[in-house]
Symmetry: C2
Subunit: 214 residues, 2 copies
């Protein structure tokens, strides 16, 4: 019996996934929670075999939650589940230790396969994501394998969030008690790191990662 914890901020989706997974009698959903904090709190006592983690979570994102969860419970397998297909996000989830990544556009059977695979100690990417990662490898090879300094600093993440909420640089400067020019520097740096070229792209990135809600 595989013990599963579901983490997804939409109650409806959580209940529905639970209902779908429990059709399979070898699976048992021991917990279904809506945010990262609760997941971390309950993981110790419920000892799930697999955590199915939505990437876009309010507050701490699924990425940060996964990092913290695996730091405390390295024996738990994390299977990422996401609405969005973005190579950077897949990369980050795998970097923090997720064993697999399933798109919500994939069929339900891919989720069950993913669970079986990660429990068996293997990695699993749904087909669409696998294609995406393959493209990424090809691009990386073409670019001569130069280092992607992807991870944003704390300040950059904060600035990205506020910009994606629709605030202007001067507004943010006032809110954080720093100079507008400094906000500008952070914006430029984070946009260069992520290869974004205007606030609209930044906004969409922030939404995909769950940094802000649409």
């Amino acid at each position: 019996m595989i013990r599963i914890m579901l983490v997804d901020d939409h109650t409806m989706v959580r209940e529905a996934l639970c209902s779908m997974l429990e059709q399979d009698k070898t699976l048992k959903v021991v917990s279904a929670v809506g945010d990262g904090e609760t997941a971390l709190r309950l993981a110790a006592e419920l000892a799930p075999t697999v955590v199915v983690m939505d990437v876009a979570l309010p507050g701490a994102s699924g990425i940060e939650t996964t990092r913290r969860l695996l730091a405390r419970h390295p024996e738990i397998k994390v299977l990422a589940l996401s609405t969005y297909l973005d190579r950077r996000i897949v990369q980050q989830m795998l970097d923090v230790g997720a064993s697999g990544y399933i798109a919500k556009s994939a069929a339900g059977v891919e989720l069950r396969q993913g669970i079986q695979n990660v429990v068996a100690g293997r990695s699993y990417l749904c087909s669409e994501v696998a294609a995406l990662v393959a493209d990424g490898l090809r691009e990386l090879a073409a670019a001569g394998g130069k280092h992607d300094t992807n991870a944003l600093s704390r300040r950059e993440t904060q600035i990205a969030t506020l910009l994606a909420e629709g605030k202007s640089a001067p507004d943010i400067a006032a809110e954080l008690h720093i100079a507008p020019s400094t906000v500008d520097v952070h914006r430029r740096n984070l946009m260069r790191k992520l290869d974004l070229h205007n606030v609209v792209e930044l906004t969409r990135y922030a939404i995909r990662t769950g940094l802000v809600l649409p």
Copy 2:
């Protein structure tokens, strides 16, 4: 036996909802499709009692799909299902004839209640949405009940989409073979209609309505 058609662009969610709803033996999911065109095509032959429609659909949004569906099949009840809580969007769905609106953050039981209610000819809003609409009424009363000319024209929708894709006004002008100043006029008009004040807010609105993907 209530015949249900599910419309949601995420296969995983579609299958999961199907699984959840069919726990109830009085419900029968006769079709589960991923886009508006298919829904319109299959509605005639399958004759569902209720269509559970995700608002954010690729291509034609759930709003447009609902309008066209009810124009051809006024006897079908449409129950909107959405990730987002936005008064303007709720308003638009109800304007085009939806009988109810359920947030994905609501519990599964609200969806089942919604289905039962709309089949019985009543309207149904999940509690969060009901609160939202009540707030809207209060604001409307405070504003003296002035007319909200909310609906966007075809051109405005097009401009909104392109802006939310990260294109600049000059880019869009070139793409559509019109003057940049004209793009600007459409931008200003649509932003005034929707009470948005910068492209970031516009982007998030476009994402909420499914005009663009994040």
